[in-house]
């Protein structure tokens, strides 16, 4: 009920311009099962350049599994993924990272023993080229490289307003800030596609507003394509350009927030159907 209310409440907001960019990522007939359970059943959708795409659905609908397929953590049994013009059976995590797919996790997956700064610097791992020999010497090429990336990381720290916790081990930070640092680590990779798994889960209203602001700014300033999973319907309807709805591993709707909100199957999935 509450979610349906949230959907109606969001109706008052005027729709954003939908970017009609070309498709950067297409998932075709993805099928993923664990033993006898089909987590994803013949789902196809596409992600367009520069858009914010939300994947929604009730618990267990296969949303997180979908993200895991996109960045190569799960290998689908059937179907194919087309990314930047290249079609493959499954993505490899390393390949995904190298080609500009970054993500955050539902249950924060930060490097807890490291400081905020080090977490963000780790995000730039793939951009650093000096080998172990130069790193052991440090002074010289390795230091110059460190400083270039430190500057890039400092810009992200400024952007996310986390200057004060630069040196704090992230394990000691409160939950909302940890989520923010995790977003920062993903941004440090300078991704083309950013996958956000419930970025606002467990946050209070203010933290959610901050996070929405960051997501929108990342999208608009850097042109980053964003795929996000979110349960807060108000947020989803507000910030996303398109919405894909999954239920029990099947795609039941795909369209603009307004279209999806009016879809009978979506309403049934969320409110239940009388048989």
């Amino acid at each position: 009920m509450a979610e349906a209310d949230a959907m109606n409440a969001a109706g008052a907001v005027e729709p954003r311009d939908v970017p009609s960019g070309e498709t950067v990522l297409r998932l075709s007939d993805i099928e993923l099962g664990f033993g006898g359970v089909k987590a994803i059943n013949k789902v196809s959708f596409e992600v367009r350049k520069g858009e914010i795409l939300a994947i929604i659905g009730p618990n267990g609908a296969g949303k997180s599994s979908m993200l895991n397929v996109i960045n190569g953590f799960y290998k689908p049994q059937l179907g194919s993924i087309t990314f930047k013009g290249e079609t493959m059976r499954a993505m490899q995590p390393h390949h995904a990272a190298k080609n500009g797919i970054a993500r955050t996790f539902q249950n924060i997956a930060l490097f807890k023993g490291m400081s905020t700064l080090d977490n963000l610097m780790t995000g730039r791992m793939l951009k650093m080229k000096r080998n172990a020999f130069w790193q052991a010497l440090y002074w010289g090429p390795a230091q110059r490289e460190e400083l270039v990336h430190r500057e890039a990381v400092e810009r992200i720290i400024d952007f996310l307003e986390i200057q004060a916790i630069r040196r704090t081990p992230v394990g000691r930070l409160p939950y909302g800030l940890q989520k923010r640092v995790e977003l920062g680590r993903a941004l440090a990779m300078e991704p083309d596609i950013l996958l956000l798994d419930e970025p606002m889960a467990g946050m209070n209203v203010e933290e959610k507003e901050d996070m929405c602001r960051f997501v929108l700014e990342v999208n608009q300033e850097f042109g980053t394509t964003i795929v996000l999973i979110e349960h807060d319907m108000g947020v989803v309807m507000d910030i996303s350009d398109r919405v894909v709805v999954l239920d029990h591993g099947v795609k039941i709707a795909d369209g603009t927030p307004d279209q999806v909100r009016a879809d009978q199957r979506v309403i049934d999935a969320y409110l239940g159907v009388s048989h």
């Binding site: 990272a97 490291m114 990779m189």
Partner: protein
């Protein structure tokens, strides 16, 4: 006590990323080096040099090695003794096969050979974690010691199985190994060598490769998503760690004891180095030194303390007491400060920065 950073402003990221960003720490380090290079050679006697300072430096090197693997990369290893033996025997074979090689070359090469062996035994880490990996490295420990005992080739068919370092020059006619070498030369050489290696380790751990190790340790899934290859991160940790441990083994055999048999590097040695990094502090280069100092000095202190206060205990009783107190102290330590002496040091510094104010 004025330990403040107020008024010390960083104007560049380079200054901010220094190893000792606070001025007093830098001065402390310089003072420490002055003491180590000037004061200690002036006052230390033969016993101090041979029985305390040289083994302390050798153990520090081994502890840095294990700390890279266990403390930074999170891969628990019980094979330290085996890898030390590997370094010792590699150095022996090199020094006897190529008598003209310089000691530094011998040490570095034996470290490299040990690194290759470490990578080989690190392969299981790609599949297994934690205690199971510890058992796999235990296999390395027993296998290596068995191998060095079993095949005479490794000790040049010496009937006793003991290898003795041939006399080697450091430069000119100053001997670093063999009967003509002086303890002071050994100490100064090891001090310089270990200091440079420790600095290199510190640099590695604060750069890209060190962050990839810590990322694998803290959250391997997220590390993979960022683009770190677990294979590469784990094996590089095994390689660098074994490099240090191998050199520690080689310096043990050549510079500390002069002659050694494989059994000197049995499982007890592995545990000894593991205790050092646990007590000193996992994931800290400073901790490696503190832990090595603690483990080397504590038995000596326990042996001498009762005598100093005029309390005479039979020798056999003393030996048992030493074990008991040693064990009790380790347990006490783990409960009170699981992150080791290095964390105590950091906490003390944090407190001092604010002292006398509570916040």
């Amino acid at each position: 006590m004025i330990y403040r950073e107020a008024g010390q402003f960083k104007t560049s990221y380079a200054a901010d990323q220094g190893i000792f960003p606070i001025r007093l720490d830098r001065m402390g380090m310089v003072a420490l080096l002055l003491i180590a290079y000037l004061a200690i050679p002036a006052v230390a006697n033969h016993y101090w040099l041979v029985s305390i300072l040289v083994p302390f430096l050798v153990f520090s090197m081994a502890a840095i090695g294990l700390n890279i693997l266990t403390g930074y990369a999170g891969q628990l290893s019980l094979g330290t003794g085996g890898f030390m033996a590997c370094g010792a025997f590699a150095a022996y074979k090199l020094a006897t096969a190529f008598p003209d090689l310089h000691i530094i070359i011998v040490l570095l090469l034996s470290g490299t050979i040990t690194a290759a062996v470490g990578v080989l035994f690190g392969l299981p880490s790609l599949r297994i974690k934690g205690f199971y990996l510890a058992v796999a490295t235990l296999a390395a420990q027993f296998f290596l010691i068995w191998m060095f005992n079993k095949f005479g080739w490794f000790n040049n068919y010496s009937p006793s199985g003991v290898i003795s370092a041939p006399p080697m020059h450091l430069f000119g006619d100053i001997y670093i190994t063999g009967p003509q070498s002086s303890p002071l030369v050994k100490y100064l050489f090891l001090l310089t060598f270990v200091a440079i290696m420790a600095l290199a380790a510190k640099n590695l751990t604060r750069c890209k490769i060190g962050r990839s190790w810590m990322a694998i340790r803290d959250m391997d899934i997220a590390a993979e998503i960022i683009g770190i290859r677990p294979l590469w991160a784990k094996l590089s940790a095994f390689a660098v760690s074994s490099f240090y441990i191998g050199i520690a083994g080689a310096t043990w055999a050549f510079i500390y004891t002069g002659s050694v048999e494989a059994l000197a590097f049995d499982i007890n040695r592995s545990f000894q180095v593991l205790f050092m990094i646990i007590i000193g502090g996992l994931g800290s280069i400073l901790g490696s030194f503190l832990g090595a100092g603690f483990i080397v000095l504590l038995p000596i202190f326990l042996n001498n303390a009762p005598g100093l206060v005029g309390w005479h205990i039979p020798v056999d009783m003393l030996a048992h007491l030493e074990f008991m107190i040693f064990g009790a102290l380790i347990i006490f330590f783990l409960i009170v400060e699981p992150h080791g002496l290095a964390r105590l040091w950091t906490v003390a510094k944090e407190k001092l920065r604010l002292w006398p104010f509570p916040h």
